[in-house]
Symmetry: C2
Subunit: 329 residues, 2 copies
């Protein structure tokens, strides 16, 4: 009977490599995988299905690295990843890097030591060295990378869209909440909005928030009305920031959307529950998670090459923190 050793010997690779190729565990170069498939057919090798399925079950572990589990956007991403992985019989463990590069490195070590099959990372250090030379594939989620496959939403278009909807609805003294400068996703939407405001010659001010946390959102909201009391439209960097602005405006007796329009970013579940409900730019978080999981599974199956980038569209969700568009507008 042909054994896995015969296949390895004939293909000129190690038994471990054949095993990885058979089990979809760990990374095997596409050419090697093809060679192994060919050899298996030539030798009519039948892997031991029981052993294989036991082995597969044991090792079908995926690591998901999130930047901040307390930001409601990321649990949505995680659920998308999870549901897709579940359907393909993978298990998902989550590490919360907490926007801290040291924690991030530590989690990658943890994933390595626990022989994960692959990693999906939504953290910010996409160019860091510790993603190099890993024995498993990495997919970036909600991030772009020049070196790895990724799934993200079109931030530049989202920012433009927010500005355009704000202008169409008549705001003239707009304030932009600028998210953390080190986050590329935050800066994409910021740049998109600025481009559009410049195209239309609209005046604007900028308030930068140090992070996407609740505390910083509240602080920025209070400051915004002190510094720029003439503001009649706020384009927030995310929905938490928009919620804080809405809260602060209502507290100050400013009517929304009559005197002040607000547009958020993300469309987290809470945004619908605010009153008035928040108009926002929707990122398809759950779908992004699903797509990233699919991409990783395709990589593990050797179906695609390493540099696929998937950009998902965003859209404007019209609720009640923006005015209706005038018919003649």
């Amino acid at each position: 009977m042909t054994t896995i050793r015969d296949v390895a010997k004939r293909a000129g690779v190690s038994v471990a490599t054949v095993s990885r190729a058979l089990n979809g565990k760990g990374y095997v170069h596409e050419d090697t995988r093809k060679l192994i498939d060919k050899t298996i057919k030539e030798l009519s090798y039948k892997p031991n299905e029981v052993a294989r399925s036991l082995y597969k079950k044991k090792s079908r572990l995926i690591g998901l690295l999130l930047p901040d589990i307390r930001n409601p956007f990321f649990p949505e991403l995680a659920r998308g990843v999870e549901d897709e992985m579940q359907e393909h019989d993978f298990r998902l463990i989550i590490g919360n890097a907490d926007e801290n590069p040291k924690k991030e490195i530590s989690y990658i070590e943890t994933f390595k030591q626990n022989n994960v099959t692959g990693v999906i990372s939504a953290t910010n250090q996409t160019e860091m060295k510790h993603f190099e030379d890993l024995s498993f594939p990495v997919v970036f989620l909600d991030r772009t990378s020049n070196h790895y496959p990724s799934v993200y939403a079109d931030g530049l278009a989202g920012g433009k869209m927010a500005a355009r909807e704000m202008i169409r609805r008549g705001s003239k003294r707009i304030c932009l909440l600028r998210g953390p400068v080190e986050l590329k996703t935050a800066q994409d939407r910021f740049k998109g909005a600025i481009d559009e405001l410049c195209n239309f010659n609209i005046n604007f001010n900028v308030m930068t928030t140090a992070s996407f946390t609740f505390a910083d959102a509240e602080k920025a909201a209070a400051e915004l009305f002190e510094k720029f009391p003439e503001t009649d439209g706020v384009i927030a960097s995310n929905d938490l920031g928009a919620a804080a602005i809405l809260h602060e405006a209502l507290k100050r007796g400013i009517s929304v959307p009559e005197e002040l329009q607000i547009i958020g970013y993300d469309d987290i579940p809470l945004s619908r529950l605010l009153f008035p409900p928040l108009s926002t730019i929707r990122q398809p978080a759950y779908d992004m998670g699903r797509e990233a999981a699919k991409l990783l599974i395709q990589l593990l199956d050797g179906e695609i090459s390493e540099h696929k980038n998937i950009q998902l569209p965003v859209r404007f969700i019209e609720r009640q923190t923006t005015r209706k568009v005038e018919n003649n507008g």
Copy 2:
């Protein structure tokens, strides 16, 4: 030179047990641990510190099982666990059981296979068999258990407190949102509120929600005002439910707190950002996470026995969905 084998032989235990005792990895009975300590002293055994620290580093992995990562209460718990574990040089991986017993079992398997040092579980199957015969200790968080150490907040007192504050502030036709019947924590607060309402002979109605998700909260809120339009006070089962009630009330032109008072439960970060900001019963989620982590570390260090239960107090956070207490009230 004395080796670990000599210690094991003399103490009458396996090398693995001595190793676990030395490294604080895996569970060792307190008596066994004492015996091993004694034997080490008798034989003047010096463990190889380099090997030991490498080994410790590799295995200092804690599994945290959450019931629903999308409910903002749980990421707060997770952050508490994480910060305490971080300070003690443990790493934390998170599994989201998604209120699904099958997923829960699957995560416990995953944790086993990855040789975690210990597990903290905030899921609902506290009495299930698959927590038995594990080689590592388990601490329950936000749950009580008759068989395992646990950290939780006083739900009965919280429910009473919510009802008392509602009554003191003059609501007479109260509606209780009852959380999922299978969740003991939800039922504790529910029972506490009922007790207090009965003590004061206050009329009340009950709306049961199938889950703690956003969708079910919105559904319950819409139904409540159809079924019980005379309601002048809502005691919600959590803050998401309270946010949905607030939203629905404002949509219907009901003034809060003048015509309708609302009290939530949890005090998630978003509750402050609602308008009017939500009065609620605060569970110290972050501190609960910290305490559970401390308890697990103490168990691993053999400092405490297995059945310690820590109950943390809750408190009323007065914001603006409840009226001021009248001086003569």
